[in-house]
Structures are given as C-alpha cells and as structure tokens.
C-alpha cells in the first residue's frame, strides 16, 4: 500500500456505496430470490403445521393433547431430556476445561471423537445400542436368560424386570448419544478463545479451584453454556430416528412425542399428528427466539468489553 493511501482513507461506507454495491435492480432480484426460496422451504411448512393442527378446532386440539397416550409420550420425552441434557452439560464443561485450559498430546483426535455422534446417522445411533444391550447383543449374551455368564446380575435384572432395549433406558441412552457433542462444541472454542490467564490470576491470588471455576470461568462462559443447553434440549426432545430403533414403539409406554406423531400419522389421523407436532414446532420457535436473544446478549457484551 502506498503512503498516500495510508494517510488518507475515507470511511468504508462512503466509498463502499459507490463502488462495491450492486445496481438496485440486481439487489431487488437477489432479495426476491432469497425470500421466495426461504418462503417455500421455511415459512410455508411452519405456517402449515399450525393451520393443520387447528384444522378441526380448538376442542379437537386439546382432546388430542389430553389423550393418555399423548400425555405419556410428553412425560417420556421430558424424562429423556431431563436426564440427557444435564449429563451432556457436565460432560461439555469437563471436556472444555480439559481441552481449553491444558495442553496434552492427542487433543485434535479427542476433538474429532467428540464430534463423532454428529456424523453418525440417527438410525445407526439406535442400532449400536441394540447391538450392545439387545437380547442378541454384546451384553445381552452375558445376561442371556438360558445360560447367563453373569448369573447374579442376570437374575437381579430379571427380578426387577429391568430392560434397556425396547424400554425407557434405551431411549435415554440413544438421546444422550445424539445430543452428546452439543454443549462441548459450544464451550470448547469459547474457552479456547478466552485463554487461561484470568483463571491463573485468580489462582495466584489465592482462590481455590472451585472458587476459580464458579467466580471466574462460569460467568465468562455463561451465555455459551445456555446456548449449548438450548440446542441440546431441542434435539433431545425432537430426536426421532435413534429413538425409534430402540423404543419398540409401545403406545402409552415407550413412545416419545416424535414417535407418537408418527403413530397418529400412520393412523391417518393427520390433524391429531399435526396437533402434537405443533408442540414441537412451538418448542423450535422458542429455541430460535432464545438463540437469537443469547447471540444478541453476547454481541453487546463483546462490544462493551472491547470499547475502551
């Protein structure tokens, strides 16, 4: 760059408007194309869910939701999310602490392994738990009722009628698997970017490890953590493929909300299916709203920190 260019530089916006923008016609055409594409693929389906849900009126809507099978599906979904989200949250914080605050060999391999569940098809995610815990599976062979190799455990499980596959524990496990990376993926880059100097300062000044975490780290990663939990929860409540492999789909017992939607749809009760689906669509909208709000919070926080 020539010295002249460095000494006089008009604000970007002034130049930008003249030389780095498109003619109004092109601009409008591009906005038009984008909006038509998004309307067709996003707005229309969203509007469709809610119109179909209320197609037979409010009475039918609430009747569908009050149905015992629907109620049991809602409860099961809440249970699965209530177990999967906190566990993955603790894991995410631990993984981010180890990866961001310390150096150790094999870090990149660990990062890739944490991402693995994202690249595994939901159907395969369900399949692997059937292979481990199913009657013909890895552990199943050890606990097989006819010739158990671990008779004590097998008897205990039998006495308590404890099943994993085609039962609630399998559903919880599959949900944990598909939501495994969400919190970790939000926290790791965030904590890596923040570095370790603040925590080191706290420690040198005499804070204990826990104090450092609660008073220094946690306030710094708060929004990232909330963001991760929101995404994790949305996926946990909406998972379909993995859960449908391990659930056995017993109505009123092992059906989650998405599986109940499928059951209603297969019964040609379309309005009922969309009524239950509207719950999850509403959850999706709340998720998007919270996400936008958290991002906005984050952006304003960064601005106030960066400005002198």
């Amino acid at each position: 760059m020539t010295p002249a260019a460095t000494t006089f530089r008009p604000p970007h916006s002034v130049v930008a408007r003249h030389t780095t923008s498109e003619p109004p016609l092109v601009r409008r055409a591009l906005i038009g194309i984008a909006l038509v594409f998004l309307s067709l693929f996003l707005f229309l389906p969203l509007v469709f869910v809610f119109t179909q849900a209320f197609a037979k009126g409010l009475g039918f809507y609430f009747e569908t939701l009050r149905d015992p099978n629907a109620w049991s599906a809602i409860k099961l979904t809440l249970i699965a999310a209530a177990i999967a989200v906190p566990l993955n949250c603790v894991f995410g914080v631990c993984a981010a602490w180890a990866i961001a605050k310390f150096d150790f060999p094999g870090k990149n391999i660990l990062l890739t392994l944490i991402d693995l569940p994202f690249s595994v098809s939901p159907v395969i995610a369900g399949l692997i738990y059937v292979l481990v815990f199913g009657a013909q599976g890895w552990l199943g062979l050890y606990l097989n009722a006819d010739h158990p190799q671990l008779p004590g455990l097998a008897n205990w499980l039998n006495d308590h009628n404890f099943k994993i596959i085609f039962a609630v524990p399998g559903i919880v496990l599959a949900t944990i698997f598909v939501t495994f990376p969400f919190v970790a993926r939000e926290l790791i880059p965030l904590m890596q970017a923040q570095g370790r100097s603040e925590e080191e300062a706290a420690r040198v000044l005499g804070a204990s490890g826990w104090q450092t975490f609660w008073r220094v780290t946690l306030p710094n990663i708060k929004w990232g953590l909330i963001y991760g939990v929101i995404l994790c929860n949305a996926r946990a409540m909406g998972e379909f493929g993995a859960v449908s492999v391990v659930s056995g789909k017993i109505r009123g017992q092992t059906n989650t909300i998405p599986l109940h939607i499928e059951a209603l749809y297969d019964d040609y009760n379309f309005t009922g299916a969309f009524a239950v689906a509207s719950l999850l669509a509403f959850l999706a909208l709340i998720t998007l709203g919270l996400k936008t709000w958290v991002e906005h919070k984050n952006a304003t926080r960064n601005e106030t920190e960066l400005s002198p």
Partner: protein, 283 residues
C-alpha cells in the same frame, strides 16, 4: 521462582486436569466409543462372503445411489441458494431481515419427524404445493423428487451459516481496489469475492452433504418406502432391523459409517483450510 516455573509451563496452576480429562474420556468411551465398537464386533461375526453379499444386494446398491445422488443434488442447490441468502442477509437491508435471519436455523431446531410429516402433507396430491404441481404432471410425494426436497430443507442452514461470517469479515478495501482498477461488479464478485468464499462454501457443502446422507426422520414420510425406488440407506437398515436381521443391518451400517468418517475427515481438513485462509487474507 514459582512464577518462572509457571511461565515455563513446568507446573500447572489450574487444577482439575486429571479429573476433567478422566471424566471426558470415561464418558466418551461409555456413550460413544464402546457402543460404536459393537458395530465392528457384530460385523466380525459375519464371514467375508456374507458381508460382501449383504452390502452389494440390489436394494442396498439402489439405496446408495439414491442417497448419494439426492444428498449431492440437495447440497448443490443449497450451495447456490444458501450463498444468495447469506449475501442478502449480510449486504442488504430489507423489512423483516432479523426474523428471516433467525428463521434460517429452523431446520436445525425443528424435529425431523415434524419436518417429515409437514413436507409430506404439503407436497401430497391434496397439499398446498402438491395440488398446484399435480396438473403439471409433477409428483413429489412418494418419489425421489420428494427425498430431494426433504434433504434440501435439512441442509439449508449449513451453507448460510458457514458463508455468512466470512462474508461479514470480508475487507471492503479488496473490492474497492478491484473496482478502482476497472473491474466490473460481476468481475469483482467472480474473481475477488468468490475465491475468498470457496473454502467456506466447500465446508458448508460437505456439512450439508454429510447431514443428508444419514437423514431419516424428514425423509421417510415423503419417500413412501418403495424398495429399489425410494428407499434411502437408513431406511434399508431400518427394514432389516424390523425383521430382526441385525447382521445385515450392521453390515450396511458399516458402509455408511466408513463413508461418514471419511467425510468427517474431509470436513476437518476443509475447516482447517478455511481458518488458514482467513488468517492469511483477513489479518
């Protein structure tokens, strides 16, 4: 003295390394690695001819072609329209832009089963869009076209969200320089902007493609489960599971897993390239 040793990295000031790394590895093994290893354990109980016969059976072969083809086309369409959406969101102002921006993530947030029944009903013969296309002789429900539509929906946010931040950080001086040297707006886009977006576009494409390959919930309702015609690979696996043929299901799952792992590797290399590209060009 102590501070010197800290600076040299000889002692760790921060506690909890063993605890957190230990728990991370334990939980990772328990939830992900050991169950995934079960796939390879199950496969090892098959003989090689059995395995080969299963993964090359006609329904499986047809499903690979369909899954790869539809995923590729969907990712391609998303690359084009995703770039336009990202461009419009970064560069232009229009009414409702913030809402549009937030809604781009809808396919991430909307459960796949909901997306599945919605698309199936929208594009059915009597649906809002399906009834408009019916007189034109275009059928979407229960056809491969329907699968393509579902996969396009699922992959939509990936390109937008990978390209958007790069486009935001692009230095306007480069465009100013090019246009003051006499380049037309189209030349600036084609020769200056697009090359800088290429790594992000490829990453987004690979992410959308990888997601589409494994997709199940949003596809099954619109696809209609016709063997050899509208069965994607996850549906073939599901079919074998419904017949309790775990050997066959696992063999086909291994094919998918190997492809997914290779894609994951490619994506990591692409992301590394994107990051390097950014630090070199935007620093």
């Amino acid at each position: 003295m102590a501070i010197k040793r800290i600076q040299a990295g000889k002692i760790r000031v921060l506690p909890g390394f063993k605890l957190t790394l230990g728990f991370t590895l334990f939980y990772l093994s328990l939830i992900v690695l050991i169950p995934l290893a079960a796939v390879f354990w199950k496969t090892s109980t098959l003989t090689w001819p059995q395995f080969w016969h299963t993964i090359t059976m006609p329904t499986a072969m047809a499903s690979y072609r369909l899954t790869f083809g539809a995923s590729f086309l969907a990712a391609l369409v998303n690359a084009v329209f995703g770039l336009i959406v990202a461009w419009v969101l970064v560069r232009y102002e229009f009414f409702g832009k913030k809402i549009v921006d937030a809604l781009v993530d809808l396919p991430f947030a909307l459960p796949t089963a909901v997306a599945g029944i919605t698309l199936a009903a929208l594009y059915s013969k009597t649906g809002w869009i399906g009834q408009l296309l019916e007189p034109l002789g275009i059928k979407i429900a229960n056809t491969q076209l329907g699968i393509f539509i579902a996969l396009t929906f699922i992959g939509l946010p990936f390109i937008v969200r990978t390209v958007q931040p790069i486009l935001e950080d692009l230095d306007p001086e480069l465009e100013e320089a090019a246009s003051s040297l006499g380049a037309s707006r189209w030349q600036v886009f084609w020769r200056v902007i697009l090359p800088m977006l290429t790594p992000a576009l490829l990453t987004g494409f690979a992410l959308a493609f990888a997601r589409a390959l494994g997709e199940y919930g949003s596809v099954i309702f619109i696809a209609g489960n016709i063997p050899m015609k509208t069965q994607i690979t996850p549906v073939v696996i599901m079919g074998e599971l419904d017949m309790f043929d775990y050997g066959k299901a696992t063999a086909i799952a291994v094919v998918m897993l190997v492809v997914s792992f290779m894609l994951l590797l490619t994506i990591n290399v692409l992301q590394w390239w994107t990051n390097r590209f950014n630090t070199n060009h935007l620093a």
